[in-house]
Symmetry: C2
Subunit: 625 residues, 2 copies
């Protein structure tokens, strides 16, 4: 049985294997945000000919069904079929979009004062050939030469002796050693004959609960070569970390959760490698930043005690692992560094974020907040740091929102509503891209604009009759943000409820943590905001929504995805890696889930902007208008 | 198809699989000195019923063939068969014989002043359970507790995190850590729940070119629990290291040579474990001493440059390996330590021997000689050491000698010939054991006695007619040493030629090396003799043969198998392991194979005792008598 693509390619199908799996096998990757459950409607294909069994039609319009659309993850061929893959279903790399990011990142690296000194290095050695008078062994010869090149100890794992004799003799005693710095020692990870100093790349990974982002970094100059991202396919085991831990522990799914994230990373790395024609032997290391549970799943570690009081992870600072141990399809001896975590609910993504923000080096008091699936907040300066987590949920990453999507091509990232006509003006990510959904910054814009223009009340309910764009949808009342190519893009009342719950949790986290350490918002010199909002986040709108406190605008700094930025910095600099470990050791963690104060603050935040409107004098002004 | 044993056990047979392989599979191990080539005649079985195809009858007498004897390694069942395994064919452990050795070894260990501090250790930790106030991770908890127990660093390989969370919680936060000391750090090799401090054992291995000996050592008190030995089944790839290197290099047999030695060790360890009911988790480490080529084969390293000028091994000091990496059937993470070597032809067995002899700590000048397949000689004291190798051949271990055997039960270890009747008086190893062959010390006795009693001339030819025990055999003239149960035990003229060539090489080595460093035999205070000669070696007889120089008797000390003794010491003491590495670094090596002086000395030694009879004044006296 075969699946032929309209592009001409033919791949093998097998009974019981979905079209999505068959495409994956053939290294053709589609987007998906539900992990293949058939619920997100993103892996659309068009069946041109042939019989199939389709087990889900969710998120497909009647018009699409009439045109032969199906969900690849729930479609099983019954015979040879011909399919078309719509452009928007294809998982792609960012390509040229990465160029701008690269400049910013290289500038950030320079600004830290750190030299480019990747955690995995290559050294080219020209060994003097042995003679009867100089007849030390191959290994001793290699070590002797290294001693002249640098100080410090060298650890040689036994496995590298296997081909040493052949390797040194292959290109007349010239060899390239790949090493990784680990526990005060350089450890050999690979040996090549000849001069293989370049090309060499590193892979930086941000494992978000909802989204996985991968950076391909040129280790010789720090260039960000390209970016790729994907929804974390663990989503099929639950949207949040707790559901996934329950699945791992009580339904024996740890192995599958581990495999899911590894497979996602393999897909992205494979996309990037193909796109830039890079062989596995040119990739020297992989650095991963993720929350504590994500890091445990990534490493295949049992997360069950993370969920139970007193909430203990297996480790916060992880030993180096190797690609082969984890199932990562690169050189099996390639080192994998996992960002250190702080506690069960304060992970490596936040340590990475603090590193990227640089607040651990500043004298002034700063707040760092990462708005992801879990909202994490850090307060402190170069002397001390205290952190807390507030469970915000994944809605700003597009999950749990009907037309939610990540901040990629086709996402509405900006919404302005005309106060008179109540007509929205939108901006979409991507050159000439048609709107396909709405991302986090778009949601914040939309809800605050809808609120200010009277479409929405303080409780987040749509005011029926105010605009012809408010209509009754499948899930109750909804607001039509725009009419897209594949149908209208709407925000439903349940969507808006989700957004309000998320912003309430974030604001409650801010205020509770500040109170715990005895400060007020006025003491805060800087608020660093991280999250997968894309290029822009309109701080003012986030304040109107009541997600962020009302502070002078210049105190806010939106940094984007700092987890991946920190991973980028760490892969290029041993010094910054050491700083990350320092941050993880220095940071204290406060458990908010048991705090009454937090619950009170949360409930007060379930209004727009807040029950205590006096904390938002400027918004109060705007509301009057 | 089945093979039933007269003992009642039935095992599976398969077409194309020899009876020996089928027995091995069922963990029934037979002796063999040819590695399964069908030439040594040691793996005898008796076919009681059923048809078989037998591809070799070598070493089987007509009488045996009539009784149904066959060689298990070259016998293939054609149908169900019933076989008997004669007691002498069974590979066994030494059992009680080891008790005496154990006392000597424990005394030797005490005499070095080293404490029992095995290279692989166990530590029992009683961790304080975590709480909300003490919520560090499992790994940090473990490390914190270790810091209170001892100094130094701890390396945790990634794989040990996998079950850490479950293990610490299994027996209420009590755990046992297995660690190995490696590169100034303790590395975790295993974690068990609860107190598993004992039982714990170590395995010391001497990999000889001809014989492999394994000691099972109780690491808690240094007791030698038991001993087992086997012919190195690499013999099927050649008797000597050079032939085996050629096979590895030119016939692509490296993998098979590696597998052969690993399988031999697996057999012996399995025998010992079964015999003493020891589980794999109670074995903490394995220490191997062998010559450089044997160590390379053991570790699976390409030996080809060992054979070619300038004779370079891959390594002399080897990183720790793990059982799983090598195919050793114990806990895959159990550490394997290989004795450091000096040069391509001066191996870890000699470093181990020098450690056992203790000459590296003495002020006086000593000579150490190990008479194995290769004869290695070391001269020096605590300040310096120079070594050389002389290719003596494996005859003293029983190989290449018609009725040769190792010094185990049934071996003639002592021969005295009555000067009048010319009748031999013999002693056989083992209580009430019947003579089955002749071992190294027996050969030295026999040849020197035959020489002194006029049975043999100076060139090693039998004087026909002198004794009725001299007769024409299959291989030419032979001397009947005794009439055994399974036929006469003889020394043939080719046997005697082999013995003379071996002793000539040894003596030439002595004298050449002494000359090289500017000393004479008179300067030597002590001669340590090592080799697999069993309990006794009659030094006087060895001098008469011309193998050893004529020195005052009290200067000689026979030490037996020092390679295994050094491995025993090393497994029990980190200090002695460090001394071994010191010896390997300190020892110089001189290549004799290119020395004319050596060749001249060798040729002069092809007489009994020597062409230059004046170097042997006492033997000259005896000859006159």
């Amino acid at each position: 049985m075969n699946i032929t693509l309209t592009s001409g390619k033919t791949i093998a199908a097998a009974p019981g294997r979905s079209v999505l799996e068959a495409l994956n096998e053939a290294e053709i990757y589609l987007t998906s945000s539900c992990g293949g459950k058939g619920t997100c409607g993103k892996c659309k294909i068009i069946i041109r000919s042939g019989r199939v069994e389709s087990k889900s039609k969710m998120k497909l319009s009647q018009e699409e069904l009439d045109k032969g659309y199906a969900l690849a993850c729930r479609t099983f061929p019954s015979e040879d079929i011909l399919i078309e893959i719509p452009k928007e279903s294809m998982l792609t790399v960012e390509g040229k979009i990465a160029t701008g990011k690269s400049k910013d990142l290289q500038e950030l690296l320079r600004s830290t004062g750190a030299e480019i000194e990747p955690i995995a290095d290559r050294t080219v050695l020209d060994l003097p050939p042995p003679s009867l008078d100089d007849n030390i062994s191959d290994l001793e010869r290699l070590k002797r030469e290294l001693l002249t090149k640098r100080l410090g100890c060298l650890r040689v794992p036994f496995r590298f002796l296997a081909n040493l004799a052949k390797t040194v003799r292959k290109e007349n005693w010239k060899i390239t050693l790949c090493t990784v710095h680990s526990e005060d020692c350089d450890e050999i990870t690979n040996i090549f004959p000849g001069d293989k100093k370049t090309p060499r790349y590193g892979i930086a990974v941000d494992i978000g609960t909802t989204t996985i982002v991968v950076y391909l970094v040129d280790l010789s100059n720090g260039e960000l070569v390209d970016v790729a991202s994907i929804y974390n396919s663990q989503i099929r085991f639950g949207d949040d970390v707790i559901t996934r831990i329950v699945n791992a522990t009580e339904h024996n799914e740890l192995k599958n959760l581990h495999k899911a994230v590894i497979s996602d990373i393999n897909i992205l790395v494979s996309l990037l490698r193909k796109s830039h024609h890079i062989g596995v032997d040119s990739i020297d290391c992989l650095v991963v930043a993720g929350n504590t549970t994500m890091t445990h799943f990534f490493l295949g570690l049992d997360p069950s005690s993370i969920r139970e009081e007193p909430y203990i992870p297996t480790a916060n600072i992880f030993p180096l692992a190797y690609a082969g141990e984890l199932g990562i399809r690169l050189n099996p001896n390639m080192p994998v560094y996992s960002f250190p975590c702080v506690a069960s609910y304060m992970g490596g993504d936040i340590v990475s974020g603090v590193l990227a923000a640089g607040m651990h080096k500043k004298e002034e008091l700063s707040i760092f907040i990462d708005i992801g699936t879990n909202g994490e907040i850090v307060i402190g300066n170069r002397e001390w740091m205290v952190s807390a987590a507030c469970s915000a949920g994944p809605c700003f990453e597009g999950s749990g929102i009907k037309h939610g999507m990540r901040a990629t091509d086709g996402a509405i990232e900006y919404v302005k509503i005309d106060r008179q006509t109540l007509e929205p003006e939108i901006k979409v990510i991507g050159e000439n891209a048609l709107p396909m959904g709405i991302c986090g910054s778009g949601m914040i814009d939309a809800v605050s604009e809808m609120f200010l223009s009277g479409i929405l009340d303080q409780k987040g309910r749509l005011r029926k009759g105010v605009s012809s764009r408010i209509r009754e949808g499948e899930d109750g009342p909804e607001f039509v943000v725009c009419s897209g190519d594949g149908g209208d893009i709407v925000l439903t009342e349940p969507d808006i409820e989700n957004i309000i719950r998320a912003k309430a949790a974030i604001y409650a986290g801010f205020s509770t943590l500040l109170k715990e350490v005895g400060f007020t918002f006025d003491d805060v010199h800087r608020v660093y905001i991280a999250g997968g909002f894309g290029k822009f986040l309109d701080i003012e709108k986030a304040v109107i929504l009541g997600m962020l406190p009302e502070l002078p605008k210049e105190r806010f700094e939106y940094l984007g995805n700092t987890s991946i930025t920190g991973a980028y910095l760490c892969i290029l600099s041993r010094r910054l890696r050491a700083e990350a470990e320092d941050i993880s050791r220095k940071m204290a963690y406060i458990e908010l889930s048991v705090s009454h104060s937090f619950m009170d603050e949360y409930v007060s935040g379930l209004f727009i902007p807040h029950t205590n409107i006096n904390a938002f004098p400027h918004v109060k002004e705007l509301m009057k208008k």
